[in-house]
């Protein structure tokens, strides 16, 4: 729209608000600077940094059993159950009944949880992209089968099957658990991507590519994929959250990696050690708090992406 040779004067009508009066929105108006998204990313970044750089400042061997005095409360507090014990700065967040230091536990445990989430989400989404594309683009029999399977897979509660598998395997590494979880992480991305591919398949630019003789493969990757990136991002975080959730579930039941400290595993030992009744609230409370913060951060990122994708949600919240 051409703007004619308009003078700066706003209209004489005082009921009208000009851009100037409404404040400077312009440059900072980009949707990517979403409060929720930034907050979430900030939180997660902090936790990651804490986990990664914590190793430089704190002895991670303290996360192993028998390295520290037992049952110490966090610094500054004193317990009375079972004898007087006072917290010290040597173990600022206390210790648990096997002598593991809480601070070391969470420094090691937090990145482990993230690792599981990232691996499981990546593999799950990789599968999901493959299946979703095939299903949406190729259609026909393949689509029917994939759709059926993903419907079935999404109904089955993953935790239960994971319990069945894990109770047999027992000694596992982080990667193994992550891969097991990713077995259940593919249905949702598959459906999502299939829906998107179906919509885009009929769109103008894809038809153009077809007409100019591009191969199926190149259409998939050069035309459709770039437009899927926002969805993939949002979906990745959602899947990672679900994967960490599943991992924590398994760990709290005692089915997590045995020799490697995890947040959920710490909680398992807390329950086994009757931490609730012994009022050792820091034993289960500190990993719980850290996990809570982690999930809040992930949730915010998810919400932020939602708002970016759907502008109408923005105006009602701000």
């Amino acid at each position: 729209m051409a703007t004619a040779q308009i003078q700066e004067s706003g209209p004489s009508n005082p009921a009208v608000r000009t851009a100037k009066q409404m404040g400077r929105f312009n440059r900072w108006d980009t949707p990517w600077l979403n409060t929720k998204l930034l907050l979430g990313v900030g939180i997660i970044a902090l936790i990651l940094l804490f986990g990664i750089f914590g190793r430089l400042f704190w002895d991670t061997k303290l996360a192993l059993t028998g390295k520290s005095p037992l049952n110490l409360p966090p610094v500054g507090l004193t317990t009375t159950l079972g004898g007087k014990l006072t917290g010290t700065w040597a173990h600022p967040l206390g210790t648990e009944s096997s002598g593991r230091d809480m601070l070391a536990l969470i420094i090691v445990g937090a990145p482990n949880s993230f690792l599981i989430g990232i691996i499981a989400s990546t593999v799950g989404m990789g599968l999901g992209i493959l299946l979703g594309f095939t299903s949406g683009f190729v259609g026909g029999r393949a689509d029917d089968i994939i759709r059926l399977l993903s419907d079935v897979a999404i109904t089955i509660p993953s935790l239960l099957v994971l319990i069945v598998i894990q109770s047999l395997l027992r000694q596992v590494e982080i990667t193994t658990i992550a891969l097991l979880i990713s077995l259940f992480a593919w249905p949702t991305p598959t459906r999502l991507i299939r829906a998107q591919v179906l919509t885009m398949r009929e769109s103008g630019y894809v038809q153009m590519a077809k007409l100019s003789g591009a191969s199926t493969f190149s259409i998939m990757f050069r035309e459709i994929m770039p437009n899927l990136i926002p969805y993939l991002f949002a979906s990745f975080i959602g899947n990672a959250t679900g994967a960490i959730l599943a991992a924590v579930g398994l760990e709290t039941l005692g089915l997590g990696p045995q020799r490697i400290p995890t947040l959920g595993g710490t909680i398992y030992f807390a329950i086994q050690g009757a931490a609730l009744l012994r009022n050792m609230w820091w034993w289960w409370g500190i990993p719980t708090l850290l996990l809570a913060i982690m999930f809040v951060g992930l949730l915010l990122i998810n919400l932020g992406f939602d708002e970016i994708a759907n502008p109408r949600l923005r105006q009602s919240s701000q």
Binding site: V161, V164, T288
Partner: protein, 336 residues
């Protein structure tokens, strides 16, 4: 074409049975993928923990015969499927000779009861809050408070369980910590028993509700915003209809439809969460049974309980799928 056609019904039923069959097969297959003889391995593990298993040789032999483990794999598989249909999961290793189905029978009603209550409250509360977040006539204070209450969303339910147990049971002693009813009581339909059940069930139910309702609130809010911008809302306002009627019949009634579809999909996650909550509270449901089975490496129990819970989930999804067309007149289920 409105309502459920035979075609649709059969298709949905087919998916139900397919789901159960696939789940059952996976559960059967897993131990057979491990090298060696599963039963001897189980007994060996049991022996290594408790020191000695009485008559272990007889147990192993009897088991093998009873369950035809000397036959070839395909034959075993067919027999297994047959057993599944009769809901025969064998015997619990830790509580031999108690059949697995007996353990399930005792625990399942508690799980289903808690499930029904928790999910009903979650769904109704979550969607209700989401709806009033968008309605013009809701007081501002409430609109600001709701997101605060939502901060527990998508936390693992077991964390909420621990927190609630600590604060409201251990510290404040308002609720009991363990079990589904007072130990001394005999189950019966009388006042004191029911009261006890409610007392014991409150914290577990709350744990589930707190971490789940936010998802529905968010979704409903989004749907309500979408609905509010629709043309039929504009016409409804022009018609001068009453505000409560408009909220219900024009907004909620349309916004809730996708929520119901989404509900069917989240049932699996919900049940997983509930299993963990039951474990945390030692609630006498399937969660505790599974946990004890894990501790005791009681594999038949793990198999049986997992399978039954999967059946319950699939059944619930089936029911929702069949009810949905009755509420949404746009769905047509002609043959594909």
């Amino acid at each position: 074409m409105r309502g459920i056609t035979l075609n649709y019904f059969l298709r949905r039923l087919g998916i139900f049975f397919l789901t159960i069959w696939i789940a059952g097969t996976i559960i059967w297959l897993i131990p057979h993928l491990a090298p060696g003889d599963p039963i001897s391995a189980m007994v060996a593990r049991l022996a290594s923990r408790s020191g000695f298993v009485e008559n272990s040789a007889e147990i192993i032999q009897g088991w093998k015969e009873r369950f035809g483990l000397n036959d070839s794999l395909p034959v075993q598989y067919v027999r297994y499927l047959g057993n599944l249909v009769h809901l025969d999961f064998g015997y619990s290793m830790a509580n031999f000779p108690t059949p697995v189905s007996e353990l399930i029978n005792q625990a399942l009603p508690w799980t289903i009861g808690l499930l029904l209550i928790a999910t009903m409250i979650t769904f109704v509360l979550g969607n209700f809050l989401g709806a009033i977040m968008v309605w013009r006539r809701t007081p501002r204070m409430i609109k600001y408070l709701i997101p605060v209450g939502m901060m527990f969303t998508s936390l693992p339910s077991i964390l909420a369980a621990l927190f609630l147990a600590y604060v409201f049971s251990f510290l404040l002693n308002w609720f009991p910590l363990i079990g589904s009813y007072d130990m001394g009581m005999k189950p019966g339909l009388n006042g004191p028993f029911i009261l006890s059940v409610i007392q014991h069930g409150t914290l577990p139910a709350l744990s589930i509700v707190i971490v789940s309702f936010g998802y529905w609130t968010l979704g409903m809010r989004g749907m309500m915003i979408t609905v509010e911008g629709e043309d039929y809302m504009s016409l409804a306002r022009a018609k001068g209809l009453g505000p409560f009627y408009m909220l219900y019949r024009y907004m909620v009634r349309n916004a809730i439809l996708p929520q119901i579809t989404a509900f069917a999909i989240t049932l699996g996650t919900l049940i997983s969460g509930q299993v963990l909550v039951e474990y945390a509270f030692s609630y006498q449901g399937m969660g505790t049974v599974i946990y004890n089975a894990i501790l005791n490496q009681d594999y038949p129990v793990i198999q049986g309980t997992s399978f039954i819970l999967i059946v319950v989930t699939a059944l619930a999804v089936l029911i929702i799928d069949l009810i949905y067309p009755l509420i949404d007149p746009r769905i047509s289920y002609g043959a594909k």
